[in-house]
Amino acid sequence: MLDKRHQFRILVRFFFSRAVDLELLSPGGEIDKLMIQFAAILAAFNFVVTYILVPRYFTSTQPHSLLVVSAWSDEEFLISTTISVVGLFIVLAWENLLPDAQDSLALGILPMRTRTIALAKVASVGCAVGAIVLLVNLFTSLSYAGIAASDSSILAVLRTFSAYWLTMCMAALFTLAVFISMQGIAAQLLSYRAFQRLSGMLQLLAFFSILAAYFLKPQLATVGGLTAPQNRSWLTWLPSYWFLGIFQELNGSANPILLRLARHGWYMTAWAITIAGCSLSLVYGRTIKKIVEQPDIAPRDRSHHSSGALSRLVELLCNQPIDRALILFALRTFVRSRKHRLLLAMFSGIGMAIALAYTESLLHGEWEQRWNEPNSRLLVASLVLLFFVVFGMRIVFTFPYALRSNWIFRVTAVQRPARYFFAVRRSLYSLAAFPIVTVSVVFLLAIWPGRPVFAHILVLVTVAVIVVEKSLCGFRKIPFACSYLPGKANLNVTLGGYAAVILFAAHQGGSLEFWAMQRPARYVVLLAILLVWAIRARHCFREFATASLTPIQFEDRSPTEILTIDLRRDGELLGGETYVEP
């Protein structure tokens, strides 16, 4: 006798364990350890927010009624943070929201109902989202229950506490429902193959939309902001304000503006849940059949014009076969591998978030500098983006695509290793530095006069050279072709450190550049220093690349581990090799 509940529990555990592909980031490959670290980071973030926001309410001399109103902006911030963190988690778990070919083929043949699979999938994502909501609001829920309560009675505090949690859960549920609806509708309208292609783009779009909305949305949580007629369209489209209204309504507020926002919030949440439920039912009713009937991604013809044009462009730019091979391989892998795209999106997303945070005040006119005149904020933003994209791409290069296929690079490594290292450098220039410099040129030329743009681009290009050359010095791998030991770099700790250094360097660098741009002499000195640094960096890289007996690295293992399986001299060069000369 089949026990449906037992099947459901097993499936929830199974789906929960693979909600996000964390293996790449896990220290020592231990998923549990990584999850605990993430949980600790979220809780610590909430603790810091509480430590910064809460004390001023207890030291304030304002009357309680005014204090409650001034807390609106913090409440909105907490709601939008919850929505954004949940949204980012859903973006990471994107492929596990709906059934995929693996589910359809592996679970479809087992004696269980499709409804059980669907419910288990939703429940597993729901559990993960619930845990995130809990961690992101752990300390603030306790403190804001005291601050936002209508009076100091236990009943009022309990009511605020319940309203807080209900609001956050509603906001998370709304976010989850929106993303499920988005995918579900796309899955219904498109063929499975077309959906798979679009899904990757939707995922990236969702990722950047969340960041842009979080950092660029205007601060309207004041009486003036909420009542101003020009803000009405903002309030209609920004969910964090609807849920601020819901929180206030549940907390007993009778403010008509907040009640109107709350009504809108309830209405939109109901719609989102209904659409998500319907699309999910249709997906499990129809899409699973579609998946089983169609091959996963086959046959996928790559002969479209963009691919051919790109190949011809690379052929035109690279006359060396080895350069062409590695640049095209890196480019194709990056374009076609969702995992690598998402990893880069993570790094560039952090960069973009910081850049947006820098420029936000310019957009809302809260800074003495103007956005359409040369200003240090946009200079810093472009430097931050450059740093994060180049370092992000450099890190993404280290993650293999199909490790078992890298034998082809091993058996065809017939030219001097330096040739491969130079080709890798060219790949990093082409895929990371060049696009950022191009985007910066186009964007800045659209808003600034030509001369300062030209001056900044000279600096940006020189900095790009320094960053690329320095980041590849010591890098002996072919992109996406070397094994990677999970957690070797302990990314979530190391990256935090690097991000802080990058941010500091970009901030100081941008400010210095803006200061130097005020006088030609200063600018010339700055550029001269950067040029010398860039030449030195190129020289260092050349020395590293052309050093004799530096082999290409295909195994990310320490020599002691190699010894134990007797691969003593694997990949070692002896000095008398006969290379193919280009």
């Binding site: 046959p299 399986i565 694997d570």
Partner: protein, 254 residues
């Protein structure tokens, strides 16, 4: 000529290949046979210099391959046992990449890629990602990639795996043709009929050790057995295949 001298390979002290010595001459197809786990693929990987022998020496044309691995890599073509390719690349992209990596000139490699794709009946699928290729199609891509640079030594580990009858016949004749052109061919396969038709000499491996190294005719005569399959069963298989198959059938029915 390819020569292995007392080659052994240990994985954490456990022998995979022990004391293997043989030579494969140019102009000949040498069969390298053995049951699963006997060490065939390990030997192949050592010959391709993908892994290092724990002991012994491998020579090609009298020179130890470890002396100049890079020069040696320019001279061999290898078809691995598992058709491991980058699935996100199309057949044409993969072949072009391999030609570029081998440093073949642009015009030469493009023409070769096109012709090889046509001859291997893959031209229609040249722009289709290899993730949607059948095993046979991947195998053909690997064969084309192994031969595109005109190697002197050809190492084929189960090259017929997944091929349809027509393609298998083409590959069989191609192997003989390449040997006739003076190439050294080392062929590992489980298909005894094909080995019997293609190879002039066979080496049989059992539990990492060579148990036979002779011409097929000589082996058949010596052991008074009609086919290579029977010779192989006698030398390399310890199990009574008929008894085991009937036992399996009984377990299924029980």
């Amino acid at each position: 000529m390819l020569e292995l001298r007392r080659v052994s390979k240990l994985y954490s002290g456990i022998p995979a290949v022990q004391d293997v010595s043989f030579s494969a001459r140019s102009g000949e197809v040498t069969g390298y046979l053995g049951p699963n786990g006997s060490g065939k693929s390990t030997t192949m990987k050592m010959i391709t210099a993908l892994i290092e022998p724990s002991d012994g020496e491998i020579l090609f044309d009298g020179v130890a391959i470890s002396r100049d691995r890079i020069r040696y890599r320019q001279r061999f073509g290898y078809v691995p046992e598992e058709p491991q390719v980058y699935p996100h690349l199309t057949g044409a992209e993969y072949l072009q990449m391999v030609c570029d990596l081998r440093g073949l000139s642009d015009t030469r490699s493009k023409a070769k890629v096109e012709t090889l794709l046509k001859l291997f009946s893959l031209h229609e699928d040249r722009d289709v990602a290899m993730s949607s290729y059948s095993k046979g199609m991947r195998q053909k891509i690997l064969l084309a990639a192994a031969l595109a640079h005109n190697p002197d030594l050809i190492l084929l580990d189960e090259p017929f795996s997944g091929l349809d009858v027509g393609s298998a016949l083409i590959v069989r004749d191609l192997i003989k043709n390449l040997a006739a052109r003076g190439k050294t061919v080392l062929l590992s396969s489980h298909e005894m009929d094909t080995v019997e038709r293609v190879c002039s000499r066979v080496i049989i491996l059992s539990k990492g050790r060579i148990v036979a190294d002779d011409s097929i005719e000589q082996l058949r005569t010596l052991m008074s057995l009609p086919t290579l399959e029977r010779v192989f069963s006698q030398l390399a298989l310890e199990q009574d295949t008929e008894t085991i198959s009937s036992e399996i059938a009984e377990v299924i029915e029980s």
